[in-house]
C-alpha cells in the first residue's frame, strides 16, 4: 500500500512539472510577453515552445522556400549561399528578423499560387481544411465576403497610420455594412491602355508632348479611329486586342448594366433603358466585323491579348498601370535590342466619352485575411504586410534587389516600386527623381491615377449586389453573340434582359428602397464633385428618366 501511494505521489510530482511552468522546459517566462533580448536568453527548448503564434506567409508577399534538393552541396541552405540566391537568403533573413521583433510569432513560408485559374477553388479547399495562407488575394467581392472568407479587420485598419494611403476603390470594395474586410496591396494602378509608340509614329499620331501616342484627353471616337488607322492586315497588325466585350465603350460612356428596379419587386434590373447599350453592342460588332480593327476571339483572355501585344499583333491593349513600368525594368529589351521597352511601349488613360467620363478606377489587389486566425495571428499577419510593403522588410528586400540588379547590369527596381507604391516608406531609398527614369506618359498616367477618386459602391450602403462573375459571364456572352452572329441587337438585348433578370438580379433585401436612395444620393454627390460635366449632361437626365427608386 505504501509503495503504491509513494508511486502515485511520484507520478503527481512528475505530472505537475509537465505544465507550462514545469521543469521540462516551461518556466514562468513562457506565459508573459518577452522582449527580443529576453527571448534570446531562453534556452532552445523554451524558445521553440514560446513561439505559439503561427503565421503562414505565401510566396506572393514575401514567402520563400529553400531548394527542394541540395544538389552537389551538403544542404539546401549551402546551395542557396554558394549559388548566390540572394532573394531566398533575404527572405530567410526577413523571416528571422520579423520573428525576433515579434518573439511569439513563427513565420511559416508556403507556396500558394494566387494567379492560377484554379485559385478560387484552391482557396476554398484550403480554408475548409484550415491550411490557407494567413492572407490572400480577395476576388469576386462582395460575394466572398458574404461567404465569410475574410476576417473583419476594421479595428486593425482604424489603428493603422497609413490606412488613408490605400486606393479608395479598393477600400470601398471591402466595406460591407460598415465593416472592413480588405486591405489594399502595394501596387496602385488602374485599367489603362498600353500602346506601341513606334506604330503610332508610323501612323503620324502624336500626343500633346509631341511624342507618338494618343493625347491624354482623347475621346472614344479617337480610339476607334486610331484602331482603324493602326490596323494593317498585310503586317498582321490589329489596332486593338481585347476579349469579346464592349471594348471599353461602357465605362467610357458611364453605362451601368443594372439599375434600380422601378417596380420595386427586386433591388436591381437589367439596364435596357439606356440607348447607349444598343450603341455599345453595335460598336463592338462594327469594330470586329466592319473595321476589322480588333483582334479578338472566343478564346481571348487577359493573357492572350497581352501575348498578342508582345508578339506585335496589337497596337493597343487594356492593361494594368503598374505593369509597363515594372516590365520596363524587368524586361527592358523584350521587343529587341533596338527597341528599348520605354521607347516602344507607352501608356495612356482610357478615352473619354462625350460626357467627359472614362470610368477609370483605381486598382490594387485586395488582400483578405484568413477568418480562422486568432486575434494574435491576425495582428502578426497584418504587421507582416505593413513591414513587407514599406517597413523593415521592404527596406531589406529593396536593398537586396538593387544590389542584385547592379551585379546583373539591370536597372534598379526601386524606381518602378516607388512609382506604383501607395504607401510612404519609412526610409527614402531613391537616389534620383522618377522623372529622370520614366518617360512622360508613365508619370502622367500615375499623376492622374493619384487624383482619381473612388466611387461609392452599393455594398457600402448595405445593398446586395449581383455576383460580378455571373454578371460578367452573362454580359460577355451577350457581346460575344452580338459579334459572332447577325442576330437583331434589340432582340438580343431582350433575350439577355430576361436571362440576367431571372438568374443574376433575382434578389431583394428588406430595406432596399432606403438604402438605394442613400446610394444614389452618394453617387450624385460624387459626380457633382468630381465629374461636373457628366453630372450636368448625363447623370441628371438618367435620374430624371430611369435611374429612380420606386
Amino acid at each position: 500500500m505504501a509503495r503504491r501511494a509513494s508511486g502515485l505521489l511520484l507520478l503527481l510530482v512528475l505530472l505537475s512539472g509537465c505544465g507550462r511552468g514545469g521543469i521540462f522546459g516551461g518556466g514562468p517566462n513562457l506565459n508573459k510577453n518577452l522582449t527580443p533580448s529576453e527571448y534570446e536568453q531562453l534556452p532552445d527548448s523554451q524558445k521553440i515552445r514560446y513561439k505559439n503564434v503561427i503565421v503562414r506567409v505565401p510566396d506572393t508577399w514575401g514567402g520563400v522556400l529553400l531548394p527542394f534538393d541540395s544538389g552537389p552541396y551538403p544542404s539546401p541552405i549551402e546551395k542557396t549561399i554558394h549559388e548566390g540566391d540572394l532573394n531566398t537568403l533575404m527572405g530567410l533573413y526577413n523571416q528571422s528578423l520579423f520573428e525576433l521583433e515579434h518573439p511569439r510569432v513563427k513565420i511559416d513560408y508556403i507556396n500558394f499560387d494566387m494567379w492560377a485559374d484554379t485559385y478560387q477553388s484552391q482557396l476554398a479547399v484550403a480554408l475548409s481544411a484550415h491550411r490557407a495562407p494567413a492572407f490572400y488575394v480577395g476576388r469576386n467581392l462582395p460575394q466572398t465576403i458574404d461567404q465569410g472568407m475574410y476576417a473583419d479587420i476594421t479595428d486593425l485598419l482604424n489603428g493603422w497610420d497609413q490606412a488613408k494611403n490605400q486606393p479608395q476603390s479598393t477600400v470601398h470594395e471591402g466595406i460591407v455594412n460598415g465593416r472592413s474586410y480588405i486591405m489594399g496591396s502595394n501596387q496602385i494602378g488602374a485599367l489603362i491602355i498600353r500602346y506601341r509608340k513606334d506604330w503610332f509614329r508610323e501612323a503620324g499620331i502624336f500626343n500633346e508632348h509631341g511624342e507618338p501616342g494618343p493625347r491624354s484627353d482623347w475621346t472614344y471616337d479617337d480610339f476607334r479611329r486610331y484602331a482603324r488607322l493602326l490596323t494593317d492586315p498585310a503586317k498582321g497588325r490589329f489596332g486593338f486586342s481585347d476579349m469579346e466585350g464592349d471594348f471599353l465603350y461602357n465605362q467610357c460612356h458611364g453605362l451601368d448594366l443594372y439599375i434600380p428596379d422601378p417596380t420595386g419587386k427586386h433591388t436591381w434590373t437589367f439596364n435596357d433603358q439606356d440607348p447607349d447599350l444598343l450603341k455599345s453592342l453595335q460598336n463592338a460588332r462594327e469594330m470586329v466585323n466592319e473595321d476589322k480593327s480588333v483582334l479578338t476571339s472566343v478564346s481571348t483572355g487577359w493573357f492572350e491579348w497581352h501575348h498578342d501585344f508582345d508578339a506585335s499583333h496589337a497596337a493597343m491593349i487594356p492593361s494594368l498601370a503598374f505593369q509597363p513600368p515594372q516590365e520596363s525594368v524587368d524586361q527592358p529589351y523584350k521587343f529587341g535590342k533596338d527597341k528599348p521597352f520605354k521607347d516602344t511601349v507607352g501608356m495612356v488613360v482610357p478615352p473619354t466619352g462625350p460626357t467627359g467620363i472614362n470610368g477609370m478606377q483605381l486598382y490594387s489587389n485586395a488582400i483578405g485575411f484568413d477568418p480562422t486566425l486568432s486575434p494574435e495571428q491576425l495582428r502578426a499577419a497584418f504587421d507582416w504586410l505593413k513591414s513587407y510593403f514599406y517597413g523593415d522588410l521592404w527596406v531589406n528586400r529593396m536593398r537586396e534587389s538593387a544590389k542584385l540588379a547592379k551585379l546583373e547590369g539591370r536597372q534598379n527596381p526601386i524606381y518602378a516600386e516607388m512609382l506604383v507604391l501607395p504607401y510612404k516608406p519609412e526610409v527614402n531609398l531613391l537616389d534620383k527623381p522618377l522623372s529622370t527614369v520614366f518617360p512622360w506618359d508613365y508619370l502622367h498616367v500615375y499623376d492622374i491615377i493619384h487624383k482619381t477618386p473612388g466611387p461609392p459602391l452599393p455594398r457600402n450602403f448595405g445593398l446586395q449586389e449581383p455576383s460580378e462573375n455571373e454578371m460578367t459571364g452573362d454580359t460577355k456572352a451577350m457581346y460575344s453573340e452580338a459579334i459572332s452572329s447577325n442576330v437583331d441587337l434589340k432582340s438580343l438585348i431582350a433575350k439577355y434582359k430576361d436571362l440576367i433578370n431571372r438568374t443574376v438580379l433575382n434578389f431583394s433585401g428588406p430595406h432596399d428602397r432606403e438604402e438605394l436612395r442613400r446610394y444614389i444620393d452618394a453617387r450624385t454627390a460624387f459626380y457633382r464633385q468630381y465629374y461636373p460635366k457628366y453630372y450636368e449632361t448625363a447623370w441628371k437626365q438618367k435620374l430624371a428618366t430611369y435611374y429612380r427608386v420606386p
Binding site: 498582321g236 472566343v298 477568418p371 459571364g473 460577355k476 453573340e481 459579334i483 459572332s484 436571362l499
Partner: protein
C-alpha cells in the same frame, strides 16, 4: 467446432481483412462524397462559417435558371456529336485496319496513340482554330478558299470542339485489341457459307465486338456528358452560351460564384440524367454476345 469450420471461419476473416482497406478507401473517396453532396445540395454552403439548411431552394433555383436547360441542351448535343464522330468512326476504322498486314496495324496503332496527350492537344487546337492567326484559316487562305470563324461561329463551335476528339481519343486501340481476339475460324466459316466482306462485318465482327462496344459506349456517354476541359479551355463556353456545358456551369457556380449548394444540386441533376441514359442503354444494348437485342 471442427477444424474445417475453423478454416472456413479464418478464411472469411482473412477475406474481410484484405477487403476492408479497399472498402474504406472506396467509402471515404467514393461513396461518402456522393452522400455528402446530397446533403450539400440542401444547404446554403459556406466554406468557413456554418452552412444553413435551405430545403429544396437550390433545386428550385436550378430548375428556374434558363441557363440550366441551355447547358443540358449543349451537353446532349456535344454527347450526340461526340458519340457519332469519335465513338462510331473508330469502330469502322479499326475494322478496316484489320484488313491490313500485322506490321501496318502495329505502326498505325503507334501513330494513333502518339497524339493522346489531350491537354496539350487541346491548347494547340485552340490556336489552330484562331480565326485570324490560326493555322486552319492560313491553309484555307493559301488554297484561296473562304475562311471560317471556327470556334467563333456559334453554329460551328461545338463541332470544332468534338473534332480533336477524333484524333486525341483512342478507343480505336481498344477495338483493335478486341478484333485481334476474334477467332479466325469464324471468318473462315462465314466465307465457306458465302459471306462477303460486309456480311462478315455484320454477322461476325460486330456481334463479337458487342461486349466491348457496350462497355465503351457507357464510358463514352459518361465522358461526353461530363465534358468540361475542352470547352473550358477552347471557348470558355462561347460564343454566347453555345458551348457552355452543364459541368462548366457546375464549376462556375461552385468556384466562381461560391454557390456550392446550387452547384451540387445541378450536379445531382446531371447524375440522374446520366443514370437514366445508362439504364436506357443497358435495356436496349446488351453486352452478352449470345443475347439478342
Amino acid at each position: 467446432m471442427t477444424s474445417a469450420h475453423i478454416k472456413v471461419k479464418y478464411r472469411h476473416l482473412a477475406a474481410w481483412l484484405f477487403t476492408i482497406p479497399g472498402l474504406l478507401v472506396q467509402f471515404f473517396f467514393g461513396w461518402f462524397p456522393v452522400l455528402y453532396a446530397f446533403s450539400v445540395a440542401f444547404q446554403r454552403y459556406y466554406f468557413v462559417k456554418p452552412s444553413e439548411f435551405v430545403g429544396a431552394k437550390n433545386f428550385q433555383d436550378v430548375f428556374h435558371d434558363p441557363n440550366t436547360w441551355t447547358g443540358f441542351e449543349n451537353t446532349f448535343y456535344y454527347a450526340f456529336l461526340s458519340i457519332l464522330l469519335t465513338f462510331i468512326t473508330p469502330i469502322f476504322v479499326s475494322i478496316l485496319l484489320m484488313e491490313m498486314s500485322r506490321r501496318t496495324i502495329r505502326w498505325m496503332m503507334i501513330l494513333w496513340f502518339i497524339p493522346v496527350a489531350s491537354t496539350a492537344g487541346i491548347a494547340i487546337w485552340k490556336y489552330m482554330y484562331h480565326p485570324r492567326l490560326g493555322l486552319l484559316n492560313g491553309i484555307l487562305a493559301a488554297l484561296h478558299l473562304p475562311q471560317q470563324k471556327w470556334l467563333d461561329d456559334p453554329h460551328l463551335a461545338m463541332f470544332c470542339l468534338v473534332l480533336p476528339g477524333l484524333i486525341l481519343f483512342g478507343p480505336g486501340l481498344i477495338y483493335i485489341a478486341a478484333l485481334q481476339n476474334i477467332p479466325e475460324e469464324l471468318y473462315e466459316a462465314a466465307e465457306v457459307e458465302g459471306a462477303g466482306f460486309f456480311r462478315k462485318i455484320w454477322f461476325v465482327t460486330l456481334p463479337r465486338l458487342r461486349p466491348i462496344i457496350a462497355m465503351m459506349l457507357i464510358f463514352s456517354v459518361i465522358g461526353a456528358m461530363q465534358v468540361f476541359e475542352l470547352p473550358f479551355i477552347m471557348t470558355g463556353g462561347g460564343p454566347g452560351f453555345s458551348t457552355t456545358t452543364t459541368v462548366m456551369q457546375i464549376y462556375g457556380m461552385a468556384f466562381s460564384d461560391y454557390n456550392l449548394g446550387k452547384a451540387t444540386a445541378l450536379a445531382i441533376l446531371l447524375f440522374f440524367a446520366i443514370m437514366v441514359l445508362i439504364l436506357i442503354q443497358r435495356r436496349f444494348f446488351r453486352e452478352d454476345i449470345d443475347v439478342s437485342t
